[in-house]
């Protein structure tokens, strides 16, 4: 493909830049494979995570607003981590509705607040894309743009999963009219041949920072999630949040848990991106044996 890539500003956030590098790299590669180049926001800072808004709202506001001030005006800003996304979007909303805050912003960052900046999640980008069209072995019916009979098999056939959103789709009331992408993981992965199983834990919060300060509370919660996932009979859990991924891996004390894949990883596999070995090395529960046995790799 030598079509020109569409450039998008990209906010990786601290988790993807460090503990979840595999999430970061697979996301960047996957986006490239569907025509988008993610350009990292220059000199971005931490969004404040859960801690800033918990104990110091002013600092939380300052941290998020500096990131907003770094975004280029001519392109949307994509945040990969659901928690960073929420912080950035909420700060943008508060700024948009309040001229006093806009003045503070101008004083602080020396530029006008950009009300029109679009801050999007990776889901928003995917929701309008017909992924099978990007895969070589699928014949496309040009008339309606829908995929026709696959020439070979779809890339994710044989694999089953339970989708895990954690709390990423829950938002504060002031933002609950914004588009909600519940069901998107299922929709996209099914279109690539994978089978999605129903379970009741897809929107259960993973415990976030309590995993550090109160592991005694989080372990039973994570075990409950993993236990249900095992019971569902799925081959793996697919999550779109790096924090959820970490907690499911480090706080699970059940024997023989199924692997948890980042959504971006399984999408990259489907697109035929090959350098997955380095990503999976970073998982505590190695997904390679399962993926091999299913013929995915």
């Amino acid at each position: 493909m030598d079509k020109k890539l569409i450039e998008i500003s990209y906010f990786p956030g601290c988790s993807l830049a460090t503990s979840a590098k595999e999430n970061n790299i697979s996301l960047i590669k996957f986006c490239r494979s569907i025509g988008y180049e993610l350009i990292e926001l220059e000199d971005w800072n931490c969004c404040g995570s859960s801690s800033a808004h918990s104990i110091d709202s002013k600092t939380a506001f300052g941290l998020a607003s500096r990131n907003l001030s770094l975004a280029l005006p001519d392109r949307p800003l994509l945040a990969a981590c659901p928690s960073c996304l929420l912080r950035l979007q909420q700060t943008h909303l508060h700024l948009s509705n309040n001229s006093d805050l806009q003045n503070d912003y101008k004083k602080m960052w020396g530029k006008q607040f950009n009300k029109d900046l679009k801050i999007i999640h990776f889901f928003e980008m995917l929701s309008n894309i017909n992924l099978p069209a990007f895969i070589d072995n699928v014949e496309i019916d040009n008339k309606n743009g829908k995929s026709k009979t696959p020439l070979k098999k779809l890339p994710l056939e044989n694999i089953s999963f339970v989708p895990y959103y954690g709390c990423m789709l829950a938002r504060p009331p002031e933002m609950n009219k914004m588009p909600n992408y519940h069901g998107l993981i299922e929709k996209i992965l099914s279109s690539l041949g994978a089978k999605s199983y129903l379970w009741s834990y897809s929107s259960r919060c993973c415990g976030t920072f309590l995993s550090a300060s109160r592991p005694d509370i989080v372990t039973p919660i994570v075990n409950g999630i993993m236990g249900q996932a095992l019971e569902s009979g799925a081959d793996c859990i697919v999550t779109a949040c790096a924090m959820c991924h970490l907690n499911l891996e480090i706080r699970c004390s059940i024997k023989n848990p199924i692997p948890t894949l980042h959504f971006s990883e399984i999408l990259s596999l489907a697109m035929g991106i090959k350098d997955y070995k380095g990503w999976f090395k970073r998982h505590i529960v190695d997904p390679l044996p399962m993926l091999k046995s299913k013929g995915i790799i």
Binding site: C46, S50, T59, G62, L169, I217
Partner: protein, 188 residues
């Protein structure tokens, strides 16, 4: 923080601007008096079993003006702000914003913190951001261990994370540290 907020809010009848409740309302922009205790929030909250008051219980305390009990509760420190409750609340009560307000008021008034380990963790995260502009997880974990004087629990998890390179040894520091200084110490 936000001057427009006050105007938009209908203050509950029983409180004056000197009340802590007034402070909670202006900080959170939530009129908690509309809560009618359907308990949808409590039944959805993943951490309710560990809290001394269920989330709506905190609201009841506020409605009854039993502020001290609310500020001393473990609930405000165990709520992670996941918004699970708010997304099912029939009155659109932003619980997470109420908890943020209560936590910060508790700190300002030097109220005894019911879950010191959580506060220590948050403080270490903010310290890290103040030092580097980003979080450095390894250092946060180590400093947190020193603060809680708890060196040996969770060693296995730490080692697993290190061997899987989930904890970078060196922090990543942003260039414009002046900006971070400005954020942490805004000029009056």
């Amino acid at each position: 923080m936000d001057k427009n907020r006050e105007k938009n809010l209908q203050l509950p009848l029983n409180i004056t601007s000197k009340d802590i409740g007034y402070d909670v309302i202006t900080r959170s922009n939530v009129n908690y008096n509309t809560c009618y205790h359907c308990r949808c929030c409590a039944s959805g909250c993943p951490f309710v079993h560990a809290m001394d008051y269920a989330p709506h219980g905190i609201i009841r305390l506020l409605q009854l003006r039993l502020y001290e009990q609310a500020l001393k509760s473990s609930t405000i420190w165990l709520c992670v702000g996941c918004n699970t409750c708010s997304s099912v609340c029939p009155m659109s009560i932003d619980m997470s914003a109420i908890m943020d307000a209560l936590r910060q008021i508790a700190l300002e008034q030097n109220i005894k913190v019911a879950q010191p380990s959580t506060l220590k963790f948050h403080t270490e995260v903010l310290n890290s951001i103040q030092r580097y502009g980003r979080t450095h997880k390894l250092e946060i974990m180590l400093r947190y261990k020193v603060k809680t004087m708890d060196f040996f629990s969770d060693m296995d998890v730490g080692i697993k994370m290190l061997t899987k390179r989930k904890l970078d040894l060196m922090p990543s520091k942003i260039n414009d540290m002046e900006a971070i200084k400005k954020i942490f110490k805004p000029e009056e």
